[in-house]
């Protein structure tokens, strides 16, 4: 992956109040169109609540480079990933195998593409990587640069679904 032009990244200014609803809208549109599912915000709960425990078994990462540099990730549990794939493919969840990894990566890819397309002046100047999938929740990611972060937590099949955008300054 490489930036598609030499325009300095500073030409795009991080704007949390504007970008947060755009990220939420980008995720909602992807789930609505590709899964026929309406996403709603996940109700606030404590980090150690049963609803949160073991809810991040699958993570899909998509890198952004160009006027936006960073990573978009989505995170959910195994069953949620399986149901996402089943809804995308129109087949019962029990018939979904490794497609759940692939489906999660594609969803992350579409949310990232949808989001950057909504930012004025970014769509043409930001490239996306091929998605990466992490299985398991016991990991940390560290950016080499200070990052701005936007996170939206939705409810999907009674479990939390995290959509996170981390951008290098």
């Amino acid at each position: 992956m490489k930036p598609c032009d030499e325009t300095p990244i500073s030409t795009v200014t991080f704007d949390r109040p504007t970008w947060t609803p755009l990220l939420e809208l980008s995720a909602r549109e992807v789930f609505d169109i590709m899964l026929g599912t309406r996403l709603h915000p996940f109700p606030p709960v404590a980090d150690d609540s049963p609803a949160i425990a073991n809810s991040g078994e699958f993570t899909a990462l998509v890198g952004l480079a160009g006027r936006l540099c960073g990573v978009l990730s989505i995170r959910c549990n195994n069953q949620a990933a399986r149901i996402m794939a089943s809804k995308m493919l129109g087949m019962p969840p029990e018939e979904v195998d490794n497609d759940s990894w692939d489906a999660l990566g594609e969803i992350a890819n579409m949310i990232a593409g949808n989001f950057k397309g909504k930012l004025s002046g970014v769509g043409n100047h930001c490239m996306l990587s091929v998605p990466t999938i992490i299985v398991g929740s016991d990991y940390e990611t560290r950016s080499v640069a200070a990052a701005n972060m936007i996170e939206a937590i939705f409810e999907f099949e009674q479990t939390p679904l995290w959509v996170t955008l981390e951008l290098n300054e």
Partner: protein
């Protein structure tokens, strides 16, 4: 028209299945659909099988969709095969480049089956 021989090029097997299902929902009478994970695999398939329609993602490993379309245009027997790009890219420049290289249409992900129908039928003259 006899059964349509379609080739779907995408590194995601889920997306290939969704595109195939959308083609069938569009009412196309398809022969078994050929699939490739990247442009290089697709060129191998095209070398061995006659194809009526190609649907290709842009952003994929090994050989991306733009390079794939570029190479198609250099091959006499494949130049006339209609190509519809399917892309996550919000980038107009990539889309314009794909069209200038010879792609007939593009569909932006996320997409509905109706959008696939709207773009695919005209390139098949249907």
């Amino acid at each position: 028209m006899s059964q349509i021989k379609a080739l779907i090029v995408d590194d995601s097997s889920v997306m290939r299945k969704i595109v195939e299902r959308s083609l069938r929902q569009a009412g196309l009478d398809l022969s078994p659909v050929m699939e490739a994970g990247n442009g290089a695999e697709a060129l191998c398939i095209l070398d061995a099988h006659p194809i009526d329609l190609i649907l290709s993602d842009i952003n994929k490993p090994v050989m991306d969709g733009l390079e794939f379309v570029r190479q198609l245009q250099t091959m006499e027997k494949l130049r006339g095969v209609p190509v519809v790009m399917i892309t996550t890219e919000g980038s107009e420049s990539n889309v314009v480049q794909a069209l200038s290289l010879g792609a007939k249409r593009y569909i932006r992900k996320p997409f509905t089956p109706d959008q696939v129908k709207e773009h695919v039928l005209p390139v098949l003259g249907l």
